[in-house]
């Protein structure tokens, strides 16, 4: 039961953080390219890499179920998004901007995987 409470609390903040950042970036940079979602997914991947490395240490709080469910399943899971990513890729492709659509897909996947690896490596250095 406490697992559900952890997910609920984490996701409440994660969704609002995503809405705030995507709105902020759209107002500053414009909405011709989904920079907001790209930033959200890459930053979320960086942080999940750190938590993933910390969780390997049994003494870490992230090795416990509830902190992990709050921070990772709840907050980061809700903060990052595939649905908006897919919809934005489709919108770019339908708009005839094939290069931008392909670039968005390629950079999202490559940068997110790079960010996880970076977060994981950095957390390992400071352990």
């Amino acid at each position: 039961m406490s697992g559900f409470v952890s997910v609920i609390l984490g996701s409440m903040f994660g969704g609002m953080a995503r809405y705030f950042i995507s709105g902020f970036v759209a107002r500053r940079v414009g909405e011709t390219f989904p920079w907001g979602t790209l930033f959200i997914n890459v930053s979320g991947a960086f942080v999940i890499g750190i938590f993933g490395a910390l969780a390997l240490d049994d003494a870490s709080i992230f090795a416990e179920p509830d902190p992990w469910l709050f921070a990772v399943t709840g907050f980061l899971g809700c903060y990052t998004t595939v649905s908006s990513f897919s919809l934005q890729s489709l919108a770019l492709a339908r708009d005839g901007q094939r290069t931008r659509a392909a670039g968005y897909v390629g950079f999202s996947v490559a940068l997110c995987l790079g960010a996880v690896a970076l977060g994981f490596a950095l957390a390992g250095l400071f352990k």
Partner: protein, 142 residues
């Protein structure tokens, strides 16, 4: 504070509440999927399932409630369903961590399979949802 600034703040607060409530519903559904769907031979099936179904739903809903759509939805309803439920239900961070763990653990083939199958099926799912809703929008009648 002027009256219109007050009402615009109130409107923004309601939109945040719609996103938070939808995000909680989507995230609990994702958590349930992770408890019910097994990981097969290291392949992270639960994350693939939520990301594919979530992409289909957002593609369908955004088109059926879009400018030429046959279903009317207010901005609040759209934020609740798309930014809230679909956004909370799908996750790019878990996909990234699971792919990295497979690569890091030496399961390179499974990692590459996960990455390629995921990206292709997400995009096909959002496109299918969009196409299905477009067909429904063009049907005659109410």
């Amino acid at each position: 504070m002027t009256g219109s600034a007050k009402s615009s703040n109130w409107n923004a607060a309601i939109l945040y509440a719609c996103v938070a409530a939808g995000g909680v519903i989507g995230s609990v559904a994702r958590y349930l999927a992770s408890l019910l769907i097994p990981t097969i031979a290291g392949f992270p099936l639960p994350t693939l399932f939520v990301n594919v179904t979530g992409s289909f739903i957002i593609g369908f809903y955004s088109t059926i409630t879009g400018p030429d759509g046959r279903v009317f939805a207010s901005t609040r309803q759209r934020q609740f369903v798309m930014t809230g439920i679909c956004g909370g239900y799908t996750t790019f961070s878990a996909f990234s961590l699971e792919s990295f763990r497979l690569l890091h653990g030496g399961m390179t083939a499974t990692a590459l399979l996960n990455i390629s199958v995921s990206v292709v099926t997400w995009l096909v799912a959002v496109w299918l949802g969009h196409v299905l809703a477009s067909r429904l929008n063009r049907l005659k009648g109410s």
